[in-house]
Subunit: 491 residues, 2 copies
C-alpha cells in the first residue's frame, strides 16, 4: 500500500501553488498541517506535506490543474468528522480543506431549495432556513459539526432518513471541479435530469471523482408537530419483530431507533433521558405532521407495539420530553466513551427481518470474545451501530475487538446485508469491499472512477480496492471464509 | 449519422448466434423482423437485420460476447412502448427483444420486495403482489403494456411519482450482463450500498451501459383508502399558483395533475369523466392513507384550493368515482388521437413556480403557430406533456408543429427546466442535449459510457450526442439562440 505512489512533483507543485494562490491559503509547516493528519477515524494518521485552503472556485481549479500537471494526489476534506478515514491525508499529496467555502448563497422558499457551499455545516442550513418554516432533513449525529460537502461525499444518513431519505434523496444539484480543472454541474432543479444520472454516482463517491464547490439542497417544511413513542421489550427479538411489524403495517415513522439493554444502561446515567433500564430493548418511534396526523399515527404505532408484546409504552407529552427521549440516543457515543477507555463503532446493514437474529448472535459473541457490546441503531433502516467496548492498552482486547467486529460484519453479509450503511468505506473497510463485491463489480467501480479521474489522483487508495489488494487480502487474511481486519491494529 | 457504423461482422455474427442459441430465438426474415422496426416513437423506423429473443441469461451472455467479437451494435428492447426512440433498431445491429424474460421469480412480503425479469409488464407486478396488500408504485400511462426493464432503461415516472418517487426510487438491485458478457449486480437489498452508486447511473441509461436480466423492485402497502379532489380554476395561472401553494403547505399528494381547457374539452366527450368543461384549468389532487389521514389531508387540500380561488370543488365520494375522475386524465393521449389526425407529445420539465407563466406562453404560441395544444401534465412534478395537434398530411402544419414544440422546450430550458422529464432522450431529443449540457458535461457522460462500453456497441447514437453532432447541430440549426428539430420532419 505504501509504495504505489511516488510524487517527485511535490516541490514543483508547491512552487506552482504559491504562484497561483494567496500565501495564507497554503500551509506546509508541521505545526499548521498537524491538525489535518486525521479525520474522525483517528487510528489512521498521516501528516500531509501540504494543506491548501482555497477561498474561491478559481483557487480549486488552480489546485486541480497543478496536481494534474505534477502528478500529485489530492484529498478533499470537509469538517473532518468522517468515521471511515475518507479524509485521511495522502502522505505525498495535497490535503484540500474546504472550510472557507462556508456561505449560504441563496434560499428559495417557493422552490424549497437552498444553494450552499460545501463547507457549510449541516445544522447551519436548517438554522438559516428556519425563518421560512423549513429544514434540511438528513441529520447525522455529527450534524452540529459536519459539513454538507462531507455529507455529499459520504451519502450521510441520520435518524430522519427512514422517512425523508439519505443525502442522495435531498440533493438536487452539485457543481464540481474535475481533476482537469473543468467545471461541470450534475443534476438539475427539475425532478429528473436528462442523460446519465451522474449526480447519484457522485454522491457517496468519497472524494474519488471530483471536488464540489456548490450544492443545491432540497428543503422540507418543518412539521407542525412531532411526538415519540418509547416502547420497552423483554428481548431484542421481540423488539426486532416490532420494527418489522411497524413497516409491514405501512407506517413510515419519522425516526425508528433501537437500543439494547447494554446501551440503555450505558446511556441513562449520562443523559437522564428517562429510559426503562430494566428493559432488554427499547424502541423510539417518532411521528410528525399535523396534530391530527400525529395523533392518528401514534395510535397505530401504540397498537402495533402492544400487539408485539411491549412491556411498557410512553408517549412524549411535550416538545421538551420528546427532545429528552432523543437526547439519550443521540449521546450514545459520548456515553460509550465514559464507560470504556475505547470503543469501536461498526456500521453494518441487514435486512430488517433479521434484526432479532443478528442481535441475539451479537449477545452470544459478547461471551465468545469476552467484551461488552452496546447496540444503538437505525432499526427502521436495518442499519446497526454496535459499539464494541475495549481497552486499547490491552493488546489482547484489541485483537478480540477486531475479531468481534469482523464477526459482526461477516454476519451482516451472510444475512444479505452490507459492511457499511452510512459511514462510508474510506480506508477502514477497503478490505471488506473485496468480500462484498465480485471482481467484475470492482472492475465496474474502477472503470467509472477512471472515467472521472484517469490519472488516479483523487483520494487514492480509498473506497475501491485494487485487484492486487484483494488478492493479497484473500491470500493473507481469509481463512476458512472468515474476514479479518489486517490494517486495524494501529489503535 | 448514417456512416459512423460499419458492421462487416454481421454475417459472421449471425453464424455464431446460430451456433449458440436455439434457431427459434433468431429472426432474420423481414416478415419476422418488421414488428421490431420502431418503438412508440413511430416516426423513426429502421428494419433490424437480425432480431434475437433470448430465453436465458446464458443466451444474453452469448449474444453480448458475439456482438463484442464481431463489433456489431446491440439495441435492447422491452415492450416497445417508449416515446423517444430508445429502442429504435440499429440498421446494422442486433435487436435484442427481452419479451421472454417474463417471470416473476419471487415475492417477499416481509421485506416488501419482488424479484422479476425485465420483460414483466409494470402492471403485472402490482397484480401479482395484490394478494399481499401491496403494489409497485411508479405507474406510467402505458403501465398495462410497458415492461419493467423498459422502465429501468427510461427511469419512468407516472401519476404516483410525486409521492412515491420515480423508477430510480423504487428499484433496489439489478442484475446486468455487460458488453463483455460479465454478470454484475448493482445495488443491494440494504438501504444503501457501499462503493459507487452504479445502480442509479444504470437506471435511466437507455440501454447504453448493459442489459438487465433481473430486477429487485420495492413494494409498498396498498393504501387503505384514497380520494381525489377535483378543483376548477378560471385561468391556468391561478391553477398553477394553487399547485405551488399545495406544495408550500407541506402537502405531498399521491398525485397532482393538471389539465387545461383544451385538454378538458378534448377528453370529456371521450371519457365521460365528469369534468367541468367550463373551467380554464382543472386540478386532480389525490390523498391516500388511512381513513383519518385522507379525511384530514383532503380538508387541507380543499382549504388551499379555496384560498387560491378555485371556482368549483368536488371530492370523489366512492372508489368508482375516484377511478372515473382519473379515467379522463389517463385517456388524454387516445382522446387526442380522436380529435386530431396527429399529435406530438412534448415532455419538458420546469420549476413548479413557473407553471402559470409557461402555460400562458403556450396559449400565446397557439396563436403564433396556428395550431391547437392540449396540456395535460404532472403538475406536482413540474413535468409538462403538451400535446400539439396537427395534420401530418399538411407539410405546413408539420413544420409549425416542430417549431411550436421547439419553442416550448426552449422556454422550459430558459426558466431553468429540462427538455425531458420521463420519456427519455433516445433519438428524439439527442440534439437538445447539446443545448442542455456543456461540452464538459457531455464529456463526463461519454467517459462513463465508455467505462461500461468501451467499444460503443450498446445502443449507439442514442442519449449522448457526440461532440461532432453538437458542432454540426450548432452550425446548422441554432440561429439567434433558437432550437430547431432538424431530424423530426419524417412525419
Amino acid at each position: 500500500m505504501a509504495d504505489e505512489f511516488e510524487a517527485p512533483g511535490l516541490p514543483g507543485l508547491i512552487q506552482r501553488l504559491r504562484e497561483s494562490l494567496p500565501a495564507h491559503c497554503i500551509l506546509t509547516r508541521q505545526e499548521d498541517t498537524k491538525p489535518y493528519e486525521c479525520d474522525g477515524l483517528s487510528l489512521y494518521r498521516e501528516l500531509p506535506p501540504v494543506v491548501v485552503l482555497p477561498e474561491t472556485e478559481a483557487h480549486v481549479i488552480a489546485v486541480m490543474q497543478a496536481c494534474c500537471a505534477f502528478g500529485v494526489p489530492i484529498v478533499a476534506r470537509g469538517a473532518g468528522t468522517g468515521l471511515s478515514g475518507g479524509a485521511t491525508p495522502h502522505r505525498q499529496g495535497v490535503l484540500l480543506g474546504l472550510a472557507k467555502f462556508n456561505r449560504i448563497k441563496s434560499i428559495d422558499p417557493d422552490a424549497a431549495t437552498a444553494v450552499v457551499e460545501p463547507g457549510v455545516r449541516n445544522l447551519a442550513i436548517s438554522e438559516a432556513v428556519a425563518p421560512y418554516g423549513m429544514y434540511y432533513a438528513p441529520d447525522p449525529s455529527s450534524q452540529i459539526a459536519c459539513s454538507i460537502g462531507g455529507n455529499v461525499a459520504e451519502n450521510s444518513g441520520g435518524v430522519h432518513c427512514l422517512k425523508y431519505g439519505l443525502t442522495i434523496h435531498n440533493i438536487l444539484r452539485v457543481r464540481v471541479v474535475t481533476i482537469d480543472g473543468d467545471v461541470i454541474e450534475l443534476g438539475s432543479d427539475a425532478p429528473d435530469s436528462p442523460g446519465l444520472d451522474l449526480l447519484s454516482v457522485f454522491i457517496g463517491s468519497e472524494g474519488m471523482l471530483g471536488v464540489v464547490t456548490e450544492i443545491t439542497v432540497k428543503l422540507i417544511p418543518k412539521p407542525i408537530c412531532a411526538q415519540v413513542v418509547m416502547a420497552s421489550f423483554d428481548s431484542v427479538e421481540t423488539a426486532g419483530q416490532a420494527v418489522a411489524n411497524i413497516i409491514a403495517a405501512g407506517i413510515i415513522p419519522a425516526g425508528l431507533e433501537m437500543m439494547d439493554q447494554r446501551a440503555i444502561q450505558m446511556v441513562e446515567p449520562f443523559s437522564k433521558a428517562g429510559y426503562d433500564t430494566g428493559a432488554h430493548a427499547i424502541l423510539l418511534c417518532e411521528s410528525d405532521g399535523t396534530q391530527e396526523e400525529v395523533e392518528e399515527e401514534i395510535g397505530r404505532m401504540r397498537a402495533v407495539f402492544e400487539q408485539a408484546g411491549a412491556t411498557r409504552l410512553q408517549v412524549s407529552s411535550s416538545e421538551e420530553e420528546r427532545l429528552r427521549f432523543w437526547a439519550g440516543r443521540k449521546n450514545a457515543f459520548p456515553a460509550a466513551g465514559r464507560v470504556s477507555p475505547d470503543y469501536y463503532c461498526m456500521d453494518g446493514t441487514i435486512p430488517r427481518r433479521h434484526l432479532g437474529r443478528v442481535l441475539r448472535a451479537i449477545e452470544e459473541m459478547e461471551v465468545t470474545y469476552g467484551l461488552r457490546c452496546a447496540n444503538v441503531f437505525h432499526a427502521g433502516d436495518g442499519n446497526l451501530h454496535p459499539l464494541i467496548l475495549f481497552d486499547a492498552n490491552d493488546p489482547g482486547e484489541v485483537e478480540r475487538a477486531e475479531n468481534f467486529g469482523a464477526a459482526i460484519l461477516e454476519l451482516c453479509v451472510e444475512v444479505g446485508g452490507t459492511v457499511t450503511g452510512e459511514h462510508g468505506v474510506g480506508l477502514e473497510k477497503i478490505n471488506q469491499m473485496c468480500v462484498q463485491f465480485s471482481r467484475e463489480e470492482l472492475d465496474a467501480f474502477s472503470a467509472v472512477k477512471r472515467a472521472f479521474d484517469p490519472y488516479g489522483l483523487l483520494n487514492p487508495e480509498k473506497l475501491i480496492p485494487t485487484l492486487a489488494r484483494c488478492a493479497e487480502y484473500g491470500k493473507m487474511h481469509v481463512h476458512g471464509g472468515n474476514l479479518r481486519f489486517p490494517e486495524l491494529p494501529r489503535f
